[in-house]
Subunit: 311 residues, 2 copies
């Protein structure tokens, strides 16, 4: 592709994802002009000094002439921000987001989005444990999945807008997948939301072990704990909103997790080594599938993360 996919995009919310989007759109030429807005003045100043694009202190100004507005705020802030953006969107523009929960994001946006705008929710399966405009980088979406959850049974113009938005993300290096919003939320509950909740929880439990000092937890974190602290360093606001907005799927998944854990606990208490072996062997299968699917590399230097020995 030689021309830009969008003449002008507007990025609202300049955190890790917003700033990565700005960099990627510029680097790949997917957008000719990148306008940015953040409600925090400090963040706007940082974005300006980083040269991420045309930073404005007016949300209206930022969105007025955009062909595509990308909402990059935590899920809990989507409705309010959408309400503020709505009057300023031009007819035929695409309105999308990057929220980790899609049903509630769709509802929050639909409540305010004007009819003359194509509303297409989205979610990039990409990120790091860092936050803020400085944490962004242009290659964040390269090789990552981007899930779009368009509204079903729309007209041809809408379908054309979905194709165009997909082309935009593909240009940033992402692989685009179309999915129903409710299904997205169930899939992500197990592949992302539960793992984060568990990571937060284990770090919390370690904090409170009065028989083990915090110093010792830190010192011997290479035994496996360290990986959890990395996941648990992710942005608290974003994750609070994820759990509050994907409540049903998370509670359902969490219920199953706790049941399964109780069974392992019972096997440990009663010394059922065969049951433990069976469960542990099974886990290797999924790891193998992930490596074969190219979702991770076997060459990762896992370093000193697990005291794993064998005779």
């Amino acid at each position: 592709m030689t021309g830009a996919t969008f003449e002008e995009i507007a990025i609202v919310g300049i955190g890790l994802i917003g700033s990565s989007l700005a960099r990627a759109a510029k680097e790949t030429g997917a957008a000719s002009k990148v306008s940015l807005y953040d409600r925090s003045e400090a963040v706007r100043d940082t974005a300006s000094s980083l040269g991420l694009g045309d930073v404005s202190d007016s949300l209206a100004e930022t969105c007025r002439s955009a062909d595509c507005v990308l909402l990059c705020v935590p899920v809990g802030a989507i409705e309010e921000t959408m309400r503020d953006i709505a009057p300023h969107l031009k007819p035929g523009a695409i309105m999308t987001d990057v929220g980790s929960v899609k049903e509630s994001a769709l509802n929050a946006m639909q409540a305010h989005c004007p009819a003359h705008v194509h509303l297409i929710p989205g979610h990039p399966i990409a990120g790091t444990e860092k936050s803020g405009p400085k944490a962004g980088f242009a290659s964040l979406f390269r090789g990552a999945w981007h899930i779009l959850t368009p509204i079903p049974q729309q007209d041809e113009a809408y379908n054309g807008a979905v194709d165009r938005l997909a082309a935009f993300w593909e240009r940033l290096g992402a692989r685009v997948e179309i999915m129903d919003a409710a299904r997205h939320d169930r899939v992500l509950a197990i592949t992302s939301h539960l793992p984060h909740l568990i990571a937060y929880n284990i770090v919390s439990t370690a904090y409170d072990m009065e028989s083990v000092g915090e110093g010792e937890v830190v010192k011997y974190s290479a035994g496996g704990f360290r990986d959890f602290t990395r996941i648990a360093a992710s942005d608290p606001t974003m994750w609070r909103d994820v759990f509050l907005n994907n409540k049903d799927a998370v509670l359902e998944t969490l219920g199953r997790f706790s049941e399964d854990l109780a069974a392992l606990q019972r096997a440990i208490r009663w010394g059922d080594g065969d049951m433990l072996m069976r469960e542990f062997e099974r886990a290797r299968g999924i790891r193998k599938a992930i490596i074969e699917a190219g979702q991770d590399t076997d060459e990762t230097n896992f370093g000193r993360n697990a005291p794993d020995k064998k005779d």
Copy 2:
């Protein structure tokens, strides 16, 4: 140090740790001669072809003239192996192990270790998710902690042996720490054993979600799940033995984890965003401490592991 710390060491069990030890001892010159034994003929053949040292098919032969015997078998195999080694140890030799549980390892070894041998249990906080002799590498212990849990109140000769064993591990690049066996088991229960159990469990739960296909779990694993599958790929036999042999500390830690998780679950159900924020904020503190203590680097390319966004 110019001369070797030990004239001859014997490594019994040639897995990830045993083969790494052989490579490290040779590369650093910490031992002049490295003798190896594994009960599996296939593993012995692999070790021979890798040139790890003098591989013998006789356990007696391997241990007879060793100044230090390093038992590198799963915790559950320690007692039986120790019984077989015992008659062949020379007076004044050091007998140690690398088991992830130290109280049961001490008891298992003490039951058979002759009085003329210095029994000093140990545990390197090092490993990867790989297993077997080919997985080993010389730098595995570099910068890692090695915990020794010597028997208290022994004579001067014993204390000298502890110093010598510590010097050996330091020569391989490890940082040595002396600790009581029971305390070791409590500390490792939270920093290593529980994280592994949780990782195995979440992978297992994902496997059984009939509303989410295995293909989807694999495809969107970058959302956080992938890190758990890596930990859960660790050797099943080793981990079964860890849980069976550190039962009390693991069950105590697991009980606390489940309590804490129930509180988070309740907060999600009742929409208590403040409680979630408070817990998630806390988790960042431990991550910061780990980075400051140099136990991990902030520069790690966490890549696409967490859909972490912020406005």
